[in-house]
Amino acid sequence: MSCPEWEERVAGGDPEAAEHLRDCPSCAALAAGLARDARLLQTLPPEALEVDYAAIRGAARKGAVLRRRRRKILAVLAVAAAILLAVGLPLHHQPPAPVAKVSVQPPAAEIARATPTESSAVPKVRARLRNPQDDLDRKFADFLRTQYALQHPAPPRAAEITTGNPNVTILLVRESKGDTNE
């Protein structure tokens, strides 16, 4: 074992190092130096300084009082905050407003822009073209509905019956499908 390794063992107070110290003068010198340093550390009193211990004690007393007070204030604030959270929150709790889910299709131009190049496997989305035949059909259906309504006017749903008292009018309402609540 080399001396640097022994040095660590000597400094650590390893009893096995005692034999090595007999044969190694440099390690023996190190051990003597370490013993001297230890004596110095243990026996040297701290530098005689003018320390006002009474002032330190007084400041510590005041500091402890202040910190105790601060802790109490913080505890009160924490309790108050907890109460506010526990009591205040349900009052303001309202069910969320219903949100209509509307799916909006992006304009065709945007789709076309977002579509990757032709090499992609996804087929291109094309803008829907209006069929002129569909328009004609819809217009014809509207025309037929109007004609039917003209030829078969709906019977009046309510009839008024006047009474002798001008302030009283009887209103007869006919019930039809889906009007049960009227």
């Binding site: 650590g12 190190l30 005689a48 300084l49 910190r67």
Partner: protein, 191 residues
């Protein structure tokens, strides 16, 4: 009242009374330990102002946490642990690195003398020692001071610093070697 004139009441009794809100007992307990706490803080921080701050902080924590102290372990190790932590906090607050810069006077090389014991005496020895301790990393310094200067066992030092005993042993032996090299360098320069 200086500690040597304080009435000889066993520390355990003082602690018990202090834990029952007896302010006088607490004061006596503080007076028993304040010099040792200051010495520890001075060697940890390297300057008097920081050491006084550390002592004050330690005493505040003693006022607030007196009931937490285990009577079996005693007040000494508890105070040492709190003082070491207070010194670390002060060091962090002042944004110091692990090496505390020493005042210019403290790192002056003294005139030729054969070894630190004979070379330095009184104030000079303390300054030399503080200079040497200041070159040590914070944890090694704390371990060495608690073990050598305050007579704590390795297990107590480990508990105080929140490390394992193996780590503390390694820190102490490392610190001893570094301190020895520091003294040797100073001896070589002065020869």
């Amino acid at each position: 009242m200086p500690p040597h004139t304080a009435p000889k009441i066993p520390e355990a009794d003082l602690l018990r009374r202090a834990q029952s809100d007896n302010q006088e007992a607490l004061e006596q307990l503080i007076m028993l330990h304040e010099h040792r706490i200051f010495a520890l803080a001075l060697r940890m921080t390297g300057n008097v102002a920081d050491a006084q701050d550390a002592v004050q902080e330690t005493l505040i924590r003693l006022h607030l946490g007196i009931r937490k102290i285990d009577a079996v372990r005693g007040v000494g190790p508890w105070l040492c642990a709190v003082a070491v932590n207070a010194c670390r906090d002060i060091g962090r607050r002042r944004q110091r690195s692990r090496l505390i810069p020493m005042p210019a006077g403290a790192i002056e090389i003294p005139d030729s003398m054969p070894d630190p014991e004979r070379r330095f005496s009184g104030r000079e020895s303390e300054q030399c020692l503080r200079s040497g301790l200041a070159t040590l990393p914070e944890k090694e310094r704390a371990a060495l001071i608690l073990r050598e200067m305050h007579g704590l066992t390795t297990a107590e030092v480990a508990r105080t610093l929140g490390s394992s005993e193996v780590t503390v042993r390694s820190q102490i032996s490392g610190a001893r070697l570094k301190l020895r090299r520091f003294f040797r360098r100073r001896e070589e320069v002065s020869l």
